[in-house]
């Protein structure tokens, strides 16, 4: 079986995978980083979003082999040195999560969104969340949290 090597949350990791192994399965099953979730089988829900070389990617629609040599960040790696990322803080402050299942993907998407969009408004945030489903929050407080984090990070 082929071996992949990548940096995950700052640590070099490698492992044998099948050609068909998805990145999300490599992360969850082989690295035991279970913060990245699987909520669907059609790449719609976004619970599996991680960063590959700084960009938000659905790890259920990425082969582990495609991430060979890449720098991967999962939700577990977002709080650098233990301090919460401003987006994580904002999700808590604004009650942007309930059951928590979509939350890792939401947060990883939001971090990338704020990086890409210098000026975020409510409409843009809502449109940008097209690929992330949440069944609990009605999105209201997720949108508030992302706008607040965006403002804080620009300040």
């Amino acid at each position: 079986m082929p071996v992949v090597t990548m940096t995950v949350n700052g640590k070099s990791v490698s492992g044998e995978v099948e050609g068909r192994t998805l990145l999300v399965n490599f992360i969850r099953d082989q690295l035991n980083l279970t913060g990245t979730h699987v909520g669907c089988d059609t790449s719609q829900c976004g619970a599996c979003v991680v960063h590959i070389d700084g960009k938000a990617v659905k790890s259920c629609a990425t082969l582990a082999l495609q991430a060979d040599g890449a720098d991967v960040t999962t939700i577990e790696g977002l709080a650098a040195g233990g301090d919460l990322h401003p987006v994580q803080r904002a999700f808590k402050e604004h009650h942007g999560l309930q059951c928590g299942f979509c939350t890792p993907g939401m947060i990883m998407t939001a971090v990338d969104m704020i990086r890409r969009k210098p000026e975020l408004d409510e409409k843009t945030v809502r449109e940008e969340l097209e690929g992330n489903l949440c069944r609990c929050t009605g999105y209201h407080n997720i949108v508030k949290a992302i706008l607040a984090a965006s403002e804080e990070m620009r300040a």
């Binding site: 089988d41 059609t42 977002l78 309930q98 609990c136």
Partner: protein, 787 residues
């Protein structure tokens, strides 16, 4: 009041693990030596099983065992049960067909469970499952529409004509009499569309049999692990109750769908003994669509009788409710006692009569989904009241106001006794927040932009705090619906609360701790809330029906009463004071009128040393338990106002304003309560505009079996919501709570449809009001297109 006490928007304690990716959901757990399960499911809606050939599959790499319904029968397991028995109008018991763990003779819906494949890896189990050959003899599919037609195929032999029950509630003669005296009547035919719950975490289970101790542990995505244990032991016979531990760890949303006991977790627990290894099963989303219990799916005809002044005289409703292929855990209760009893709405209606035919079809079982019966009732009442206002020329708000129940308690003709409420207060506040007076101007302005603008109301009531055990017992419930709590104080004063409620997004670890903090003066970090484990919690009926505040917290409240009473006794002896003079305030026991004081930990430590008080009179230790049985249902109520703009060229409906003013009684944490409303609104608006579980009439195939086909509400479908509260304090529980979990999903669908029909000037449009349906309605109606 402590800074963490009742009424404070305390930030959630559980968030810390979720935002760091440290939650522990069932699929995140792995047991040593674990194996993987895959179910071979029926590809047919309805078929006889002629034979099952396992030869090739058994030889596939990694396969450990392949089990069928024959193995289930050989081990003497019974089928799954429905925990609520309803009776037909002729007095006969509902006609329940068997609900097998693995179908042996016949399959009854696409996704029905036939074969369990166990292998070393999930990939191997999937590959072997593909090699299982089941020879089916297809039978005709049975839909909600054709189920009761003569000559329809029979889903269960026990239920001729596919009729499980013909239920009625109310006074038929009095209602007919009201209609005979009516100045006018209004009628409407309504469909309540089928919904797929779609909690974001798919269901999962790990069964793990310990041969050394002859004990089973089942990790499962459950809203009520004790109920799961009871059903699996007492009814299915997997293991004796004391030999089965059920753990529901972090659970990623439920909305009802994780109340029920399903074949998958049953099979994982049972088979783990057969193969002597732990078995994990995790649904993929496609399986969730096929085999989670769905919600709603009613066809109804309703008639309202009015006098010449617009006062309601009577309501008649006839409903055909889809139960699916098997009776799920609470399915018989949902279209009956959770539905018919709410048909009085917020109104004083002297006579009501409702008939419900519960029918079997070849579709996934239908059971409670957020609101469970109450959204269906509210949809009937609020659509027909709006229609009545339009047909009689009354303002919809004023017609409602005129007919509101205004004095309490109020006995409705359909069992419920409304204890308290102020329906005008929520209506008035909603009218103000939504700026109803300014609507004509906004409509005119929208017309200039070529948009059709409409406004719709819904003044809903629901019944929560489920429920007084004797009351539900008399109506057919097989269980009591109290809740239990244990409050265990450690020698150091730290508190562990073991609750029978289960949190899967509701934030109990925060709100329940707020109550304990309020009562004891302790900071939140000294309080731990433990739930979801039959090995730690004494018992629990679980979380559904917006009951965890009104019932679950009331049990904690009662247990704290006992802890406080005992601690005060101990403190009184320690301080040589009269018990009545000792008060607990701000985390200390003080003797009134003196400077004598002992801190909480000083008293709790003494409770465990047994020093300084008479242990012959007061037992050492400080741990108390309570089982709280509610005195009445609670009645959350409110007013939703929806404003839409429709693009006549595309039929796209945009929600431009949504106001929800609710009366939930006492609110422990307003931030969390608002979050519950937001989520409920999106599920309710989702029902009205987007979501629809569709089975093909002829083949019985689920046409909306993925997120590609089933339209889940997304962030850009909504504006921000305007919320407000007009609380009246519930008299039937110690904190005055009513419940807030389902209101959003109950109140909102009729508000949306009333707004759309207002914009289009039509009587009805079926849910979901998709752009295609709205566009067709515009083409078919006489409404002039906006310029």
């Amino acid at each position: 009041m402590s800074e963490w006490g009742i009424g404070k928007p305390v930030r959630r304690r559980e968030d810390d693990r979720f935002i760091r990716g440290r939650g522990q959901y069932t699929d995140d757990i792995n047991r040593p030596n674990q194996t993987h399960a895959v179910f071979v499911r029926s590809p047919h809606a309805h078929a006889l099983i002629r034979s099952i050939d396992l030869e090739e599959a058994n030889a596939a790499p990694g396969v450990l065992a392949i089990l069928t319904g024959k193995d289930v029968a050989e081990d003497g397991l019974a089928g799954l049960i429905c925990g609520w028995t309803v009776h037909s109008k002729d007095g006969s018991e509902m006609k329940a067909g068997g609900h097998p763990i693995l179908a042996a003779e016949k399959v009854r819906y696409v996704g029905d469970h036939v074969v369990l494949v166990l292998a070393e890896t999930k990939a191997q189990a999937l590959a072997a499952a593909d090699l299982v050959l089941v020879d089916y003899e297809p039978l005709p599919a049975v839909s909600l529409k054709n189920s009761t037609e003569p000559g329809s195929a029979q889903v269960h032999d026990e239920a001729p004509g596919n009729l499980c029950f013909e239920w009625e509630l109310g006074d038929k003669a009095a209602t007919e009499d009201a209609f005979s005296k009516a100045a006018r009547t209004v009628s409407i035919d309504l469909a309540n569309n089928r919904l797929v719950p779609n909690a974001m975490e798919p269901r999962a289970a790990i069964g793990d049999y310990d041969a050394g101790r002859d004990e089973y542990t089942l990790w499962t995505t459950s809203q009520n692990p004790h109920v799961a244990r009871l059903v699996l032991s007492a009814f299915v016979g997997v293991a004796p109750e004391h030999k089965l531990r059920v753990i529901a760890p972090d659970v990623g949303g439920g909305f009802g769908s994780k109340i029920f006991i399903y074949p998958e977790e049953t099979a994982c627990a049972w088979a783990s003994k057969k193969i002597g290894r732990p078995i994990k099963w995790t649904a993929d989303r496609s399986e969730a669509f096929l085999a989670d219990a769905h919600g709603r799916d009613h066809l109804s005809h309703a008639e309202l009788a009015l006098d010449e002044d617009g006062k309601f005289l009577g309501l008649k409703v006839k409903t055909k409710a889809n139960l699916g292929a098997y009776l799920s855990t609470f399915s018989a209760a949902v279209p009956t006692y959770l539905y018919g009893t709410l048909l009085s709405g917020q109104y004083d209606i002297p006579a009501i009569y409702v008939e419900v035919d519960g029918v079997y079809t070849t579709t996934s079982p239908v059971d409670a989904y957020r609101g469970a019966g109450r959204p269906e009732a509210t949809y009937i009442v609020e659509r027909i009241v709006e229609t009545a206002a339009r047909e009689t020329g009354f303002d919809p708000a004023e017609m409602r106001r005129m007919n509101f129940v205004k004095t309490f308690p109020h006995q409705t003709p359909v069992i419920m006794n409304y204890d308290i409420g102020d329906f005008e207060a929520s209506l008035d506040k909603a009218l103000e927040v939504a700026d109803y007076a300014g609507f004509p101007d906004r409509k005119e302005e929208a017309a200039k932009r070529g948009k059709l603008r409409g406004i719709g109301f819904s003044t809903y009531i629901e019944a929560c705090g489920i429920a007084p055990s004797a009351a539900v017992g008399s109506l057919g419930a097989g269980v009591g619906l109290w809740e239990s709590a244990e409050v265990q104080v450690a020698p150091t004063g730290k508190i562990e609360v073991f609750t029978g409620s289960h949190s899967h997004g509701q934030g109990h670890e925060t709100t329940f701790a707020q109550l304990v903090s309020e009562r004891t003066g302790l900071p939140l970090e000294d309080i731990e809330i433990i739930h979801g484990d039959t090995g730690r919690v004494q018992f629990g009926m679980g979380t559904y029906g917006s009951r965890s505040g009104a019932v679950g917290m009331s049990a904690i409240f009662k247990a704290i009463d006992k802890v406080e009473a005992k601690a005060r006794k101990i403190a009184a002896q320690l301080m040589e004071a009269a018990e009545d003079d000792v008060v607990l305030e701000n985390g200390a026991f003080t003797v009134k009128g003196t400077d004598k004081s002992l801190s909480w930990p000083e008293v709790t430590l003494a409770a465990y040393t047994g020093h300084g008080f008479d242990t012959a009179e007061i037992e050492p230790g400080l741990k108390e338990s309570a089982f709280y049985d509610p005195l009445n249902f609670t009645f959350p109520a409110g007013c939703h106002i929806c404003e839409v703009e429709i693009d006549p060229e595309t039929g796209v409906t945009e929600i431009v304003n949504f106001t929800a003013i609710d009366d939930f009684g006492t609110i422990i944490n307003p931030m969390i309560v608002e979050g519950q409303v937001h989520g409920g609104l999106v599920q309710g608006i989702g029902q009205a505009l987007y979501e629809h579980g569709i089975y093909d009439e002829e083949s019985g195939q689920l046409m909306t079996g993925s997120f590609m086909d089933y339209c889940m509400p997304r962030a850009d479908n909504f504006p921000g919501f305007k919320l407000g509260f007009t609380p009246t304090v519930c008299p039937s529980n110690p904190m005055g709570m009513k419940g807030c979990g389902e209101a959003g999903a109950i109140g909102s669908p009729p508000a949306v449809i009333n707004a759309i029909t207002d914009a289009l000037g039509i009587k009805d449009i079926p849910m979901p009001a998709t752009p295609a349906r709205v566009w067709a309605a515009i083409q078919n109606s006489a409404t002039p297109k906006a310029a």
